[in-house]
């Protein structure tokens, strides 16, 4: 801890004032207001609010569609995070030799991070396009099955998962490659001298040694999948077909802005707040445990 060296009665307050002002006005006020609104419902003419207690939450829990959207959110996040990371780790391990020119690969891998999820989605939308896209065209040689995401929920889900994974993939791979390069080759050599095969070596040595990188990437991808993919859903599938890709954030927005069910949407916001708290708590617990060797 640093010894405090400057003395001034009002200056520190002036310095933190902008941050505190924005925090109070645009974070705390709306957050508390969400909690308050979640206990109300707009009157039929939308001119006043009626106190309904926990009715919004009861309605949410009983709402089949809301439960589906929670499942959709978790399925989506699971695939984006776990499949995305597993693929990156697999590829990185396969490519794990002392490689020259890694800096060049890094440049060639990191750029998709800069593409907005919505834009990534629109590009993949066209690749998946049932009439013109290259992917359904190629698949049509293999099977007569119609990979039409306008009609089939799982194809639409695959579409947004692929777009999200694509955006994050190079970045995940670059981090794994670097993590692998940082592992002393003598450790792995020692293991292979002791007769451990490549798969054994991977699970006994490489994977544990990479756990900090994995954890870092896991929280990052999870937060991304849950909270930064609204644009992807809004610009590509708009939650459809049916509500096959209607993730929780998209639903909260839709019920609030298109359905004008303010209380109902606010109640969803409150539930999302709990999800973030859970994710943050998880992050800190693991960070404390120091997921290292």
């Amino acid at each position: 801890m640093k010894r405090t060296v400057f003395r001034n009665r009002w200056l520190p307050y002036a310095l933190v004032a902008p941050q505190v002002a924005i925090t109070v006005v645009f974070f705390f006020w709306p957050a508390l207001d969400s909690v308050r609104l979640s206990l109300y419902r707009a009157s039929p003419f939308g001119d006043r609010l009626i106190y309904v207690g926990l009715a919004n939450f009861e309605r949410l829990l009983a709402d089949e569609a809301y439960r589906r959207s929670a499942v959709t959110s978790f399925v989506f996040s699971f695939f984006v995070t776990v499949v995305g990371l597993a693929l990156a780790l697999l590829l990185a391990s396969l490519a794990n030799a002392r490689i020259r020119g890694l800096g060049v690969y890094r440049s060639l891998l990191l750029w998709p991070y800069g593409i907005a999820p919505a834009i990534a989605g629109i590009i993949w939308l066209f690749i998946f396009h049932p009439s013109y896209g290259v992917l359904p065209y190629l698949l049509s040689f293999v099977t007569a099955y119609q990979f039409n995401w306008f009609l089939k929920g799982w194809v639409a889900m695959t579409l947004i998962v692929v777009a999200a994974v694509w955006k994050q993939f190079g970045y995940n791979l670059a981090f794994y490659l670097a993590g692998l390069q940082a592992i002393e080759s003598s450790v792995i050599e020692a293991a292979s001298v002791d007769g451990a095969g490549p798969i054994r070596r991977f699970f006994a040595i490489v994977f544990p040694l990479l756990s900090p990188v994995t954890f870092f990437l896991f929280t990052l991808n999870m937060t991304f999948a849950f909270f930064d993919t609204f644009g992807l859903v809004h610009s590509v599938t708009q939650g459809g077909p049916g509500d096959a890709t209607s993730i929780m954030v998209y639903r909260a927005w839709k019920d609030g802005f298109e359905g004008l069910q303010l209380g109902y949407s606010a109640a969803q916001s409150v539930i999302l707040m709990l999800v973030v708290m859970l994710l943050t708590a998880m992050q800190f617990r693991y960070a404390e445990k120091k997921v290292t060797y």
């Binding site: 590829l91 030799a97 890694l102 800069g114 609030g256 303010l262």
Partner: protein
């Protein structure tokens, strides 16, 4: 976790330059990485190719995978139809204002927290921390209400100021200031420099690398933000480029499938953040790691 990540921070540049025997492992590794880079680049290449074709070529089967001659036409059309000039200005204002604003605000509050003792410091610190748990999606309707009350709908104020509070930025600078020896501030005091002078002439130049790293991350974040501009802007004049593209996507069969125009627009919009990442790559990697610690 931080220490483990620092080893990763170099993302592999640690590989010694000493020439190595080109064994099979190396060849396989390069093969895998080249394949990964190619797969990653394909969607972007495809988008570009489409953006050079005429409507007829785009909707013909089999899909054409090489550039054609309509490039200038399509980009001019995309520019005009999406009112790209105006939207790009809005995006640039938003990205730069958010990046600069966040950096300035968090620099100041971190300075106050590290170099001063004041009543309520713990409270301020705690408040900044809690903003981590309140991303936009968890307070959708209420935040919009606040913006309406302030009369900031469809203004640059509304687009930028509410996103300027930054816990990650504050923590980043706080951590950095704590590594700066106390003797520096003491020396400055002996020379008769006040706190602001010290901040401006000594701390700020030392923070350059952190400022650059944060700038890249925040610029990309601001440019790609989707939910926020969608909420606080209604007129086409205030829309940002990323959400403007969605309006071009045909939602019904009756619209012309002008995917060439859409892809041209997509390429225009994704170029600035991708360019920033490529040009400022070193800072980008630093920023990625520093902000997640």
């Amino acid at each position: 976790m931080a220490r483990a990540l620092e080893t990763v921070a170099t993302l592999g540049v640690t590989t010694t330059g000493r020439a190595r025997r080109r064994d099979w492992n190396g060849v396989i590794a390069h093969g895998i990485l080249v394949a990964a880079v190619a797969v990653l680049a394909f969607p972007l290449y495809y988008a570009f190719v489409i953006s050079t074709q005429s409507v007829g070529e785009v909707s013909s089967l089999p899909p054409k995978l090489y550039p054609s001659t309509s490039l200038l036409d399509n980009y001019a059309q995309a520019w005009e139809r999406a009112r790209m000039g105006r939207m790009l200005v809005n995006s640039a204002v938003m990205a730069v204002a958010i990046a600069v604003g966040k950096i300035a605000i968090s620099l100041l509050s971190a300075f106050a927290i590290v170099y001063f003792n004041f009543r309520g410091k713990q409270l301020v610190f705690w408040m900044i921390f809690v903003t981590l748990m309140l991303p936009v999606p968890v307070r959708i309707v209420s935040t919009y209400n606040v913006i309406t009350i302030m009369g900031w709908v469809d203004t640059y104020w509304g687009l930028t100021i509410p996103l300027m509070a930054s816990a990650t930025g504050t923590f980043l600078f706080r951590q950095f200031y704590q590594t700066i020896p106390d003797s520096l501030a003491e020396a400055a005091q002996l020379d008769g420099a006040g706190p602001l002078r010290f901040l401006w002439s000594i701390l700020l130049p030392l923070s350059k690398a952190n400022v650059a790293a944060l700038f890249v991350i925040l610029f990309v974040y601001g440019w790609n933000e989707y939910l926020w501009p969608l909420m606080v802007t209604n007129t086409p004049d205030m829309r940002t480029a990323v959400i403007g593209i969605e309006a071009l996507v045909p939602r019904s069969g009756s619209q012309l499938p002008e995917w060439n125009i859409i892809m041209a627009a997509a390429i225009i919009v994704l170029l600035p953040p991708v360019a920033v990442i490529i040009v400022m790559q070193r800072w980008f990697v630093k920023g990625l790691i520093e902000t997640e610690k």
